[in-house]
Each structure stands twice: as structure tokens, then as C-alpha cells.
């Protein structure tokens, strides 16, 4: 048994290694590029050649785009938005998955259709409205529109579907109220769904450019805008500095991913309790 397992493991390792290489090679090349001498052809670099030059690029990147402030600001509004998304989307997913009520199909259809209109189109009326509400360049102004995430509802519904209706029934019989069931039973069981949604939504919001760039001016500095400002084609910024900046920008979401993914747990046993 053990032999077969290790043989199989080795077999499955192969495609993983191949794809892993495909994933990491570009990033490695970028890393090497930053740590290369200025006189080298950046496009062809494979191995780092100058440690000191790389450090100076990183330092330049950090100081030019005030990355500390940008990371903090982005972290705050992203976390706030994700929290909002988790709460309202899980509630909505709960309602849509387990219950029947008049208008359910219509409302669900509405949610789905809203994913289909490109953002470019409704961004102008949205901006005008948020501005007139006095929320321009504020945390609420940037976050509230992004809290409406049909994708999150969609994802969570798929994770809820696995839960048997019988749980709800037995809880109901025990006298639990509508929202108590949600809070005490469904939510804990949806743990994987919630973590997945949290990580993915965080990533998407972190990477959002169009909306944050419009709605913020001086008080909040999204990192995507800070980066966009140094990759403008109209003036020159050292390519190695640009790359350094983006590698740095990649770190927070990656770390968040690793942190949260550790907590995604293995399956449900027959007794219905996640271990």
C-alpha cells in the first residue's frame, strides 16, 4: 500500500512541478531583472547579477511611491470592504439556498445579471452619485459600492449547497430562530467557503484600479493608483524600479493568501462536524 501511494504521489508530482515552473519562472525572471546591473539587457536576464543595484532599486521604489502609506490605505479599505462582503453575501446566500419565497427567482436573476454589464459603463453615474452624497475620497465612499459582490454570493451558495436541509430542520425543531440558525449552524459549516471568498475578494479589491482611481484624491491612496502613476508612458521611470515596485505590491495579498489558506480544513465527517 505504501509503495503504491508513494509511486502515485510521484506521478501526480510531475504535472504539478511543470505548472509550478510555469507559474514561477516569470516571477523569478522579474526578480532577477531587478537584481541585475543597469547595463544588462533586462529582457533576457535569467539570473541575478548585482545585489546592490537591486537593493537600490527597491529603495527607490519604496520612496518614490510612498508605498507604506499606499499599502496601509489599501489594506484598510480592502479589509473593510471584504468584511462587509462576507456579512451581506453570506446572509444573501443563506436566504437564496435554503428557502423559497415569492420573488426569489427574480431577485436571484437580478443578482446574476448585474455581473454581466461591464463596469466601464455604470462607473460614471456611480461616481456622480457617490460624489453628490459627499462620500468622495472617504472610506465609506470607496468601500460601499464595492461591497456589492454578486460573485461572492455565487461562490458562497455553492459551498452552502452541500449542507443537507435536515440540519436546518432539526435546528428549527429545537426552537432555533431564523438568524440563530444562520449564525450558529450554517456559518461555521461554511468556513471553507467564507475563507475562500474572503481571500479572492480581497485580491480583487486590492487589484481594482478604475473605481479607486476615480473616487480617491488625496486622503486615500490606493496602491493600484500609486503603481499606475509610475508606469505612465509619458515619462520615464527606471524599468527595474517599476518591477521592484510591483513585486513589493504583490507581497501583501500573497501573504494574506498563505495565512488564510492554512486555515482551510479537510472535509466533513459523517457526523457533520468539521475537524
Amino acid at each position: 500500500m505504501k509503495n503504491r501511494k508513494s509511486r502515485e504521489r510521484l506521478l501526480w508530482m510531475i504535472p504539478c512541478v511543470i505548472w509550478g515552473f510555469v507559474c514561477l519562472f516569470p516571477i523569478w525572471v522579474l526578480f532577477s531583472g531587478t537584481f541585475s546591473r543597469d547595463s544588462e539587457n533586462l529582457v533576457n536576464v535569467i539570473f541575478p547579477s548585482s545585489f546592490t543595484n537591486g537593493i537600490s532599486k527597491i529603495v527607490t521604489a519604496l520612496t518614490t511611491i510612498d508605498i507604506g502609506r499606499a499599502t496601509l490605505d489599501t489594506m484598510v479599505y480592502s479589509a473593510f470592504t471584504v468584511l462587509g462582503i462576507l456579512i451581506i453575501s453570506s446572509l444573501a446566500a443563506y436566504e437564496f439556498s435554503f428557502f423559497k419565497f415569492p420573488g426569489k427567482k427574480l431577485l436571484f436573476g437580478l443578482v446574476m445579471v448585474s455581473m454581466m454589464l461591464p463596469q466601464v459603463l455604470y462607473i460614471i453615474p456611480l461616481y456622480r452619485m457617490v460624489y453628490n452624497m459627499g462620500l468622495a475620497d472617504t472610506l465609506l465612499g470607496i468601500s460601499l459600492p464595492m461591497m456589492v459582490a454578486p460573485l461572492a454570493v455565487f461562490i458562497m451558495m455553492q459551498f452552502i449547497e452541500d449542507l443537507p436541509q435536515s440540519f436546518i430542520e432539526s435546528a428549527r425543531i429545537d426552537g432555533a430562530g431564523h438568524f440563530t440558525i444562520y449564525w450558529k449552524i450554517v456559518l461555521p459549516l461554511m468556513r471553507n467557503g467564507i475563507l475562500t471568498t474572503a481571500v479572492l475578494m480581497f485580491m480583487r479589491i486590492w487589484g481594482q484600479y478604475l473605481w479607486p482611481s476615480l473616487i480617491t484624491a488625496n486622503k486615500i491612496k490606493p496602491i493600484s493608483v500609486a503603481i499606475a502613476n509610475i508606469i505612465s508612458p509619458n515619462y520615464w521611470v527606471d524599468s527595474r524600479v517599476k518591477i521592484a515596485a510591483m513585486l513589493i505590491a504583490m507581497l501583501p495579498p500573497l501573504l494574506i493568501y498563505i495565512f488564510f489558506q492554512k486555515r482551510v480544513i479537510e472535509g466533513v465527517t459523517a457526523s457533520g462536524i468539521k475537524e
Partner: protein
């Protein structure tokens, strides 16, 4: 009671999504443009006729963009979904350490800002000297071709980058889905002497079906609105250059953006009309998927 649970979502939805959404659709029937300053005139289907007539720059570009979409969407979904699914299934068989390591690795392309992700692939595909284009040339594909500026090849370049980037996203969802399957089922199968391949085929995939469906559906919705990658690859200082010479990698949303910033009469109304048409296409495809699923599950 149910409505109470839906209240938070829908109240925000109504204000921040539905209103601008309806506004956008309504504007497609007017002559909304940069010069409108708040006063628009109802023009009925004029914008739609203009876009779909096949005459004139806007229409030709829009129809070309739809053609490009026709090639792009099935290819990127087929390749991307297969890889993501395969990885999500396989990774569970790797044992603790391998699992933890590769899980992080597969996600990194999605964490990298797309601008530089697309940029590095641009370098890899440089005509003549790019590593990946040289690799392809060795196996006979695209010999001497400038991928970014040639029809069809440009679309495949976008597919390449999209698959590299987005597989991380799909992988995370699918993998989390596999985690939700009870280990008891696998243990029982193990006792019956099943190989990991058989376990995958008879337990994992069927139980994963709802999530696979969701990922594919969302994949369509997302692929039909492709914008970032081709925009980054082809962006220039002039709006007409979007999509590359000959519009080889022009897609509908990019064309919408061009109309928004062009400042032509009814420009925004036309962009809105293009958006509504695209939305109609997405809706149709999604409905077909739902119908198909209901018939076969």
C-alpha cells in the same frame, strides 16, 4: 423574515449597482456624449443601428471585436478550466508538504499585478528573441511571427497570459471545494482498493459538480468581458490604437472604452449600446448553461 436577511445586500445593491446600471442602459437609447452636460435626447435604437450596421469605423471595430471574442472565449475557457481542475484534483494527492508548497505557488501569478505579468510575457513573446516565442517556433508554431501584432496569434497570446494569470483564481475555488468532501468517502473507497485516479473520477468530480459549474459559468461571464490584458499589451497614447494594428486583439469592452473617451457625438450612448449588446450575449450564454445543466443533472 427571508427578506430581512436579504436586506443588507439588496439595499446596497439597489443604491450602488441597480441605479447606475439602469441609468447606463437607459442612456444607450439617447445621444449621451461628452458634450451632453446633463441634457440628453431620446434617440431610440439609433445607437444600436449605428453599431451593428457594419458601416463606419465604430461598427467595423465592434464587429471585429465580437469576432475576436468568438475565438478567444472557448479557447481560454477550455484550456484554463482544464488546467485548474486538474491541478485542484491532483494536488490533494501530494501529501502534506507538497500540498502546502504548491498551493502557494499556483496562486502567485494571480497575486502579481497584471501590468507586470502581461509585461513579462510581452518580453517572452518578442519576435525573434523572446524565450517563449522561440520555444514555440522550435515546435513549429508561429515561426517568424510577431505574435502581438498578427491576427489570431494575438488572440492566442492573450489566452496564454490569461490562463497563466487566472488559473490561480479558479484553482483556489476548486481546491476549496475538494476540501468540503467528507474523508469518510475516500476512506471507504480506499478499503475497496480504489486508486487515486478512481477516487477522483467517481467521488471527487461528481461531488464537485456544482462548484465546477459555478466556476465555468463565472468564467464565461468574465472571459466575455476581457479587457485588462489586451489593453495593457496594445495600449498607446491614442484611443484608436487600442487593440493593436488591425484590431487584432480588440475586444468589446475595449471598444466601449474607446467610445467613452473619444468624445464623438452620441459617443457615450454608443458605448452604452455596445455594453447592452454584450450583456445580452452574456445573458444568453449563461441561460443556455443553466438550461443545459438542468437537463443533465
Amino acid at each position: 423574515m427571508n427578506y430581512l436577511g436579504l436586506l443588507p445586500f439588496f439595499s446596497l445593491f439597489l443604491v450602488f449597482m441597480l441605479y447606475p446600471f439602469v441609468y447606463g442602459i437607459a442612456m444607450s437609447f439617447t445621444d449621451w456624449s461628452v458634450s451632453s452636460r446633463g441634457k440628453v435626447n431620446f434617440t431610440g435604437l439609433a445607437n444600436y443601428k449605428f453599431i451593428l450596421s457594419g458601416e463606419g469605423v465604430s461598427s467595423e471595430r465592434f464587429l471585429t471585436s465580437l469576432k475576436n471574442l468568438l475565438i478567444y472565449v472557448p479557447v481560454t475557457l477550455l484550456i484554463g478550466m482544464s488546467i485548474a481542475l486538474m491541478l485542484a484534483l491532483i494536488i490533494n494527492n501530494l501529501g502534506r508538504k507538497g500540498y502546502g508548497f504548491f498551493r502557494g505557488v499556483f496562486f502567485t501569478p494571480y497575486a502579481l499585478p497584471l501590468f507586470i505579468g502581461a509585461g513579462i510575457w510581452q518580453w517572452f513573446m518578442t519576435p525573434g528573441t523572446g524565450r517563449v516565442s522561440q520555444l514555440f517556433a522550435k515546435i513549429g508554431i508561429g515561426v517568424g511571427v510577431d505574435w502581438a501584432n498578427t491576427a489570431i496569434y494575438a488572440i492566442f497570446m492573450v489566452v496564454l497570459i490569461d490562463v497563466w494569470h487566472a488559473t490561480g483564481f479558479n484553482f483556489v475555488i476548486l481546491n476549496a471545494g475538494t476540501k468540503d468532501i467528507s474523508p469518510d468517502l475516500y476512506d471507504a473507497a480506499e478499503l475497496d482498493g480504489a486508486t487515486s485516479w478512481q477516487k477522483m473520477r467517481y467521488i471527487t468530480i461528481p461531488l464537485l459538480e456544482p462548484i465546477i459549474f459555478m466556476v465555468v459559468t463565472y468564467g464565461f461571464i468574465s472571459a466575455l468581458q476581457v479587457y485588462d490584458i489586451p489593453y495593457i499589451l496594445s495600449s498607446t497614447t491614442d484611443a484608436n490604437g487600442i487593440g493593436g494594428p488591425g484590431q487584432v486583439m480588440l475586444f468589446p469592452v475595449m471598444e466601449m472604452v474607446r467610445n467613452v473617451y473619444l468624445g464623438s457625438p452620441s459617443g457615450l450612448g454608443r458605448a452604452a449600446a455596445e455594453g447592452v449588446i454584450l450583456m445580452g450575449i452574456i445573458l444568453l450564454i449563461t441561460l443556455i448553461q443553466f438550461r443545459f445543466r438542468r437537463k443533465n443533472v
